[in-house]
């Protein structure tokens, strides 16, 4: 469906996630417009990863309603999501190309030229036969990003993609994310290093104790005080 600023890409309505007595997310209500890069920030345990995993469909909310791309049927929109976590989500025993070829199949993508393309986009060599287990951390994170963008998702969910990544790789990944946002993708990025995305992020979303406590729009005409 076509998305206008009035039709959010992701919409949460009183979404809560409870683990026994502990509330990881507490009645989060928020709309996220398409084509923007959102920084999700907050201390450890604030619920940032849980939020991303709920949007990705890996966690079922205990209460509340989640609407993605206008649909509440999560299964229908999975093809349009890309998710990347701090763990690589890759098979160490396979090469980069083999990993991506497998995941491409899961999305019904037959043209394997797309895999090579994705690998090149993140700045890696698609002909590299080395097993992923032998990659450096920076290469692994880049390949993980390649996996996440393989299906050309409209919504990208990245959970601490820059951990233990060298500054050079991080800068390149940031530039890539910026250009993806410019082409219309909606990007959610959890990070403890917001400085890396200076100038690229559209909005900073601050979470604490399972709630969204503040949202700062960086593109708004009048500047608001940042925390």
């Amino acid at each position: 469906m076509t998305l206008t600023p009035d039709n959010p890409a992701v919409s949460l309505n009183d979404v809560s996630k409870l683990y026994g007595r502990f509330a990881a997310l507490r009645m989060v209500t928020a709309d996220f417009a398409p084509g923007r890069l959102y920084l999700i920030l907050g201390e450890n345990g604030a619920g940032k990863s849980t939020l991303l995993r709920v949007i990705a469909g890996l966690i079922e909310p205990s209460h509340g309603k989640l609407t993605i791309l206008g649909s509440s049927d999560h299964k229908a929109v999975k093809a349009h999501l890309g998710y990347m976590a701090h763990a690589s989500m890759l098979y160490d025993e396979l090469s980069g190309r083999e990993n991506l070829a497998y995941f491409a199949n899961l999305y019904g993508i037959r043209e394997h030229a797309l895999c090579a393309q994705a690998i090149r986009t993140v700045g890696l060599d698609p002909t590299l036969e080395r097993r992923v287990g032998q990659y450096s951390q920076g290469m692994r994170q880049r390949l993980s990003l390649a996996r996440a963008i393989l299906n050309d998702p409209r919504i990208l969910l990245l959970d601490e993609p820059f951990s233990n990544v060298d500054v050079g790789s991080a800068k390149e990944m940031t530039r890539l994310l910026g250009s993806m946002r410019d082409s219309g993708k909606t990007i959610f990025l959890v990070t403890h290093q917001p400085a890396l995305l200076e100038g690229f992020a559209d909005e900073s979303v601050y979470m604490s104790a399972g709630r969204v406590i503040e949202r700062v729009d960086h593109r708004a005409p009048t500047l608001e005080a940042k925390r």
Partner: protein, 224 residues
Amino acid sequence: MSVLGILRTTLAKDLRMEWRSKDAINSMLFFALLVVVIFSFSFDLTAEESRQIAGGLIWVALLFAAVVALNQTWARELRNQVLDAYRVSPAPAESLFLAKTIGNFLFVAVLELLMTPLFIVFYNLRSVGPVHQLVLASLLGNWALVVNGTFFGAISIRTRSREVLLPLILFPISIPALLAMVGATTSTLTGEGSAHLPLVFLGVYDVVFTLVGLFLFETVLQAE
């Protein structure tokens, strides 16, 4: 992509990874060899006695070895949280279930092929009944073990002490299949009684539990 297409690609991936690391096969082989040897000098049997109990021994050995393989094949999906990548994708859960089951089936089959000559040698076995019945019992029995083992493997990877929990919940469930396998094998080896009923029983068991597993696997996969 269709259920079959994803099944094929997942199976190919698993076989390729196993070929490179040989984790599951090596552990299984070594374990099975140990079991065969230990059983073999624990029981000093005449040829007739061998035929009576070989069925039971083989299947016990295979059951233990299968558990080793089952733990390995699911452990592979936990490393680097790579199972999340599958769960996030639109790929159907049933494909993963069948792909893992077929993969485990092939590993256990390799083990059977390697262990059977050993058993024949150590116990001086010779079958009175037709060999094709033994093969059929092997195939059906193998599937019975791995279809439940794969399902419970997926359950137990979400628990603490998963290496202990898998055999704990798998063994009681496998008892009827075990009885039927042993019944069919012993009947064939000794030539006494008909292997027909146990084989049919095994077939029905396989169908029922494959269907139940297919039906419930998505629930189990998407549980956190």
